[in-house]
Amino acid sequence: MELLSILFEITTGHGLAALGAGVAAIGAGIGVGLIGKAALESMARQPESSDDLRANMILAAALVEGVALFGIIICLLVVLG
């Protein structure tokens, strides 16, 4: 019961929203890290295709970043709404 009340307090106090933003950032961080790792590895293997890889890497990173921003937007809605 106490735990429930604490959780309730967190939810009403918007603390959980900040936590959600953090979790979203973790996911996006892992994603962007994997993209960068894969792109660097392929660039090292085939330096001649670097330009092509860079464009695709940035695109994939932008897509992943979008997921983190969805989280941030939802947190914003919670905090401001």
Binding site: I58, L59, A62, L63, G66, L69, I73, L80
Partner: protein
């Protein structure tokens, strides 16, 4: 001797390919400029419609909370920058008005005493007609502002938090020219002028290398055609979708860049959800209208999938059909809004440090924030182009999906 022959052949070939190349570009750009005006009008009309639909809910007047709200807003009104000594600086009250749509273009200073450009307010009250007046007509004490409509006599009340309501709880549609709508009109006029003159310069000097602004924008047009439309949609079908892709690309780039110019009111056009809703709806509409039987077949009766699995796959696919444009919409809005919020947060950090840890801490933070803000500005410049690229690319992928050939 042989070398010379080769080089001369190569030379003539080059000239030929270049001439046809410019002819292609010329026809493409004239087509684009023609269709641009129409698309711009449709987008603008749609945005106004969405704005009217969403803001029409402003009629909800919560009488129980109105007293309470007024007090809150009065408190919020005190939390402006000038009152740094007396009241607390609240980052939320500083950031949100900057990224939200507004009825005036605010240049500098306090929101009440600062210098701002009023914009026309247009209301439609059902059964009574239209009201048209400038937003500077709103007047009143702290927080709530009131204005009387010159035509219908309705009294409009403007809360800083709750938006615009009418006094008697009357229902009305707000189709005002807000900051975002004004910014969009400006961008559309700018793009029509620039791109028309671009198209004309190709007809005036056929086969010559482009000059000036045309030279600057040609790589972008070619980028959209050769790196987005043609490889993804295919050479034959790309021409059909290219005008739309170019229009959205240039519109998004221009509005993103307008939002980055400081001291002109902080436009946040692509960060306004109504704008991206219409852009995403246009993508959804075009891909649905152009969907061929392969597209619908894959959607509702995916070939080579066991019948029982179809029960699971088909709902997901149909749901995905609506999810794709939704995600497109949220991605653009979230990216642009987040960029603005981050830059504004660095500004607020200075005030927060100044208030909580003294002037020296505030000054030190000011130096750091300025450096970080410059960094963020460069990042945002990249993001402005990147998001336009991503939006156009994904739109092209959806169009290619809708016009796919049977391949098995």
């Amino acid at each position: 001797m042989k070398e010379k022959l080769y080089s001369s052949i190569f030379y003539t070939l080059n000239i030929r390919t270049f001439a046809s190349f410019f002819e292609q570009i010329y026809s493409m750009i004239t087509e684009f400029a023609k269709r641009f005006a129409i698309t711009a009008l449709i987008i603008l009309g749609g945005v106004n419609f969405v704005a009217a639909q969403t803001e029409g809910h402003g009629e909800v007047d919560d009488h129980n909370h109105s007293n309470h709200d007024t007090q809150d807003t009065q408190d919020a009104g005190h939390n402006s920058l000038d009152d740094g000594e007396h009241g607390d600086f609240v980052a939320k009250d500083f950031i949100i008005p900057h990224i939200a749509d507004a009825n005036e273009i605010h240049f500098f200073g306090d929101h009440h005493n600062g210098f701002s450009l009023p914009l026309p307010m247009i209301f439609y009250v059902e059964g009574k007609g239209f009201d048209l007046f400038m937003s500077s007509k709103f007047h009143g004490s702290h927080g709530t502002l009131t204005a009387t409509g010159p035509n219908t006599g309705t009294v409009y009340i403007k809360h800083p938090d709750a938006g615009i309501t009418s006094e008697g709880g009357e229902s009305f549609y707000d189709i005002s020219i807000t900051k975002s709508v004004f910014g969009m009109m400006f961008i559309m006029a700018l793009l029509v002028i620039i791109l028309r003159s671009m198209a004309k310069s190709y007809s005036k000097h056929p086969g010559q290398a482009p000059k000036g602004l045309t030279n600057v924008l040609e790589p972008l047009v070619l980028f959209v055609r050769d790196d987005i439309a043609v490889p993804i949609i295919g050479k034959h079908k790309a021409g059909k979708f290219l005008p739309f892709l170019l229009t959205t690309f240039f519109f998004i780039v221009a509005s993103n860049l307008l939002g980055l110019i400081p001291f002109i009111g902080g436009f946040n056009i692509t960060g306004t959800i109504g704008v991206t809703v219409v852009l995403a709806f246009a993508v959804f509409f075009i891909s649905t209208v152009n969907g061929n039987r392969n597209y619908w077949g894959h959607l509702f009766w995916p070939p080579g999938v066991p019948n029982l699995v179809k029960l699971l796959v088909v709902p997901i696919e149909v749901f995905g059909m609506f999810l794709k444009p939704t995600v497109l919409m949220i991605r653009l809005t979230a990216n642009m809004t987040a960029g603005h919020i981050i830059i504004l947060s660095f500004v607020s950090l200075v005030f927060i440090f100044n208030q909580n840890y003294g002037e020296i801490a505030g000054f030190g933070m000011g130096v750091f924030s300025t450096l970080f803000m410059i960094f963020m500005y460069f990042l945002e410049l990249l993001v402005a182009f990147l998001q336009a690229y991503v939006f156009t690319l994904l739109a092209a992928i959806y169009f290619a999906d809708a016009t796919q050939e049977a391949h098995h």
